[in-house]
Amino acid sequence: MLKSKTFVKKTRSGGVMKVVREHYLRDDIWCGSEVCTECKQDSTVLQKDACIESSLCPYPHYLVPDTNVVLHQIDVLEDPVIRNVIILQTVLQEVRHRSAPVYKRLKDIIHEQGRHFYTFTNEHHRETFIEREPGESANDRNDRAIRVAAKWYSQHLKTPESGPDGLKVVLLTNDQSNKLKAEETGLAVYKFDEYIKSLTGNPELVDCLALSNDDKNEITSSKVLFPEHLPLSKVQAGIKSGSFLQGTFRASRDNYLEATVFVQGEGEDSTEVLIQGLQNLNRAVHQDVVAVQLLPKNQWVAPSSVVLQDDGAAKDDNVDEDEEEKVLTGPLTETARRATGKVVGIIKRNWRPFCGMLNVSQIKESTRHLFTPADRRIPRIRIETRQASTLAGQRIMVAIDGWPKDSRYPNGHFVRSLGGAGEKDTEEEVLLLEHDVPHQVFSQAVLSFLPKTPWSITPEDMAQRQDLRHLTVCSVDPPGCTDIDDALHCRELENGKLEVGVHIADVSHFIRPGNALDKEAANRGTTVYLCGKRIDMVPELLSSNLCSLRSNVERFAFSCIWEMNHKAEILKTRFTKSVINSKASLTYAEAQMRIDDANKNDDITKSLRGLNKLAKILKRKRIENGALTLSSLEVRFHIDSETHDPIDLQTKELMETNSMVEEFMLLANISVAQKIYDEFPESALLRKHPAPPPSNYDILIKAAKSKNVMIHTDSAKALADSLDVAKVDGFQYFNTLLRILATRCMMQAVYFCSGMDSDFHHYGLASPIYTHFTSPIRRYADIIVHRLLAVAIGADSTYPDLMDKHKQSALCNNLNYRHKMSQYAQRASVAFHTQLFFKTRGIINEEGFVLFVRKNAIIVLIPKFGLEGTVFFNSKDKASPSLVFDEEGPSLKVEQHTFHIFDQVKVTISLDDSNIQHQKIRMALTEPVIPGVSVPAPEAEPQAKKQKLDR
């Protein structure tokens, strides 16, 4: 081992400081190639016959990309065609320094065995280490280091037996001067795009190429469209002095020329700055962190109420902007004006690959096309592709490369195709990607932590657990459920008291903290249920087999056992890890039948009856305490088993047994929450539901008033009581509608760490403390709660992250985010299936109720389908009827008829597929008949619909 030292000088704020670091050079770093006989390596990564069909390099070769190639062309490198690549340490470190996401992706490729990516630690190798020469910049030194390493490799691999066609090393760089210098030393060196274009076997890779700087000049005219962004140093100085504000850029969904920047102030006071017009938006993209400068007060404007979509043919860059801007300026009242600003600099881009569709250019031979993202807040992106004809009609993913100041649109490149638009699989993929739901198959690393099958219970396991196999435990779930995570039992004790047990799948026994499986589950956060599909949080072996508490098999459980009297008062609570053997897996309907069937008297039925009796008492007590029973319509699709298309749709029914299971789950959650909070006041993971601000209830109170019903919202109890008595004769659905409205007034319930917050109250359940314990198979929060509880009862050991409130709180943030996104994805999935359903149905006439009244529309709820839709009264192509909106009612007078909340109406429902990317359900009024508005006959309908009716 050889040793040498480098001296590095570093300056830090205030002064000059000399930092001396040791740098050891070694002769035991191997080249990692199968061909090599010199190196004494145990395993090799690079293959002997490293062939890619390339017209430039017909011989087998290894690739050595330089830093910029990795940074900009990671999409290409990720393609499985690219193999046998040497990543130099110099490159890896530079990438790490410059872009964390690219670094992560690069590491993922390196870890993939089949890809044959080898990391060569050239900086510590005796023969490839170079020192920076005087006057040489750090970048130049790194470039030289890369050349030296490539040179070393090419000489090292030149063995006698490999002839002239032997293995070679090909350096890939986009830097002209670097390329020249490399050629001087006799290296095989190509530009990255040259090389990729030479791959005769895989022409499609060319589209993945990111546009490099010199290409951009060709693509756009020389006219400068946007003001220059300020350099970061100026931006920071500006923010410090207060002349600029820093915030997150949020593009408007409805108007592409408008956006708001959300400026996070100290504590509660945050402001929003309005930005209008292309120039002022200045190339910021949704979710970027930007610096904005406020305009003088006299230039402040009001948010426009116009819906504006950037569509039509690709506008040339020299299009007259005035024309675009004109639409914006509406009438300005002093009060409506808001703080308005312009973007002066981008602090951090938050670009991700976007899903969407290609607008094929009108010119047939053109290779440049515009791409329209599915998310309306993202601008259209210009990409270059030769496969436009195949990609048209497909959903594709595109990444943005940059947005030069002389280009109307950002430039990007094609990443991959997701499949045909409108197809179920494709659309599911799109909605998962757009909602950021991790849905890849589990990696090998994750699967390696699964228990070995066939799995059996060992005597050691038994010794640590209580044997509850003799108990008559059963589970009650929706039909078709395979991830059963809860089971119940109830029996009478000798002292006349009742013993009730809730047994929860012991997932934390299989998922140990900190391993890849745990990390993956923590990242996924929750299982996502789409219509007819489930995106698991943990691999299927666990979710549907080893953890699932199926009947007649022995399973590990975490049990919460209470001793209760017949008044459902808890006398004793006990938690234990156990082994159970469920006697039956029932559906809600089956369980209900057993309870109702007086002839049945077996143990399971008795146990169910006992549970049911207690649950009713518990529920009554809970409601007396002020818990809310809210309502939202959930629909369920009957899916055709062959085509997986929805064939029927019904709203979910609730049975007594539903609430029976729910009641005990709530009880278990509350008991556990209390226990872990007592034990770990600083680091317990709890769930809270904040009380909504009183103003949230305005809409509810107004709506009820219109029917002469008073709603009190002073407390949860008052609300619950007044909802209970709210009834209108001859209008049975009124109460449900009110509850639906009340649900909309609520806040989101969130996970939090007890050490970081002081308000624990759960408003909806009227419980002072609450957590999630009962579904560890599908929620990660429950796994953490299991671990905390296991430590609290001494059944498991702790680990540092569990007790760290900051880490815990970071985890909560992720869980809350994933939870929210999964709900959105679920809703989107239901919406998509509803569309599929109506696609096959044509037009349907249904009865509905007015749920909200807006300025130009009413929102109608169809109880039969749980579907909500908007009926617009003004459309683009015809004169709008006279509309009078009364905010106090709220009511809307259309011509002669006045609409109030809760009015009963009849509508026709159909699918509007004029825009294939955004299909939507369209509703039109049929009753009450208003001339010129309602649609008694096809003539009065919008274009898309007419065609359908004719058919």
Partner: protein, 244 residues
């Protein structure tokens, strides 16, 4: 900005060492003629000078004398130019006092003090350049100086720091590693018997990992002891050749 990657996937540390490898250790004994014993030791870029006086009669207050063994008096100091930013005072601050105390405890465990009742042994250590592992370098240098002074010891006292990164113990941390948020542990060992003279740790570490960490530290200390042993033998050979 990403922090430093302390251990790469290939198993190399910042300076190119592997997890268990020590920095290069170089040492000389008998560097001063006036002192009873002295030594100079470099461990990578950390450099220390140790001087030993004694055993001699108690100086200063005689009341501190112990009737059954010698008193060990340690003083630790750092040269003002030893760190990247110039130090204000070379010794007497809190950190130095604590370090002096640790050294004292370490050597009380190793030196056979009962042979010299009512006397005193002075050990002065100065760090000339600091690049991590100050305590262990001081202990190693002082050991050589004590040996040079001819004071009987139970065994060499060898010390080494270990850190814990990505479930792997790293031996002999340099400054960049120490300041990179690693929980580090310093351990002084009497290698032949495997007795621990001192363990010191300020950072948080999960209990499960402690054993592996101590294990790694002991192996590292044994490596250090081999080097020190060689230095002593070399030194003896040189001096005896001269005296012949």
């Amino acid at each position: 900005m990403a922090g430093l990657e302390l251990l790469s996937d290939q198993g190399y540390r910042l300076d190119g060492r592997k997890a268990t490898e020590l920095r290069k250790v170089q040492a000389r004994m008998g560097v001063f003629a006036q002192a009873d014993g002295s030594a100079y030791l470099e461990q990578g870029n950390t450099k220390a000078l140790a001087v030993v006086y004694g055993p001699h009669e108690m100086r200063g207050s005689r009341s501190r004398a112990l009737h059954d063994r010698a008193v060990i008096n340690c003083q630790y100091s750092m040269a003002t130019f030893s760190t990247a930013e110039r130090k204000r005072r070379p010794h007497g601050d809190r950190k130095s006092t604590e370090m002096s105390l640790h050294l004292k405890q370490t050597f009380e465990a190793a030196v056979m003090t009962q042979l010299f009742p009512r006397s005193q042994i002075d050990i002065y250590v100065k760090i000339l350049q600091s690049d991590g592992g100050n305590y262990s370098v001081c202990v190693n240098a002082a050991t050589l100086a004590v040996i040079d002074a001819g004071i009987p010891m139970r065994d060499y006292v060898c010390a080494c720091t270990v850190g814990f990164v990505d479930e792997t113990p790293l031996a002999d941390l340099c400054y960049a590693e120490e300041s990179g948020g690693v929980s580090s542990l310093a351990l002084a060992l009497l290698p032949r018997g495997g007795q621990i003279a001192l363990v010191q740790m300020d950072a948080r570490l999960h209990q499960d990992h402690l054993e592996t960490l101590i294990e790694a530290a002991m192996t590292a200390c044994k490596c250090v002891s081999k080097v020190l042993d060689e230095v002593v033998r070399q030194h003896l050979q040189e001096t005896s050749v001269l005296s012949r």
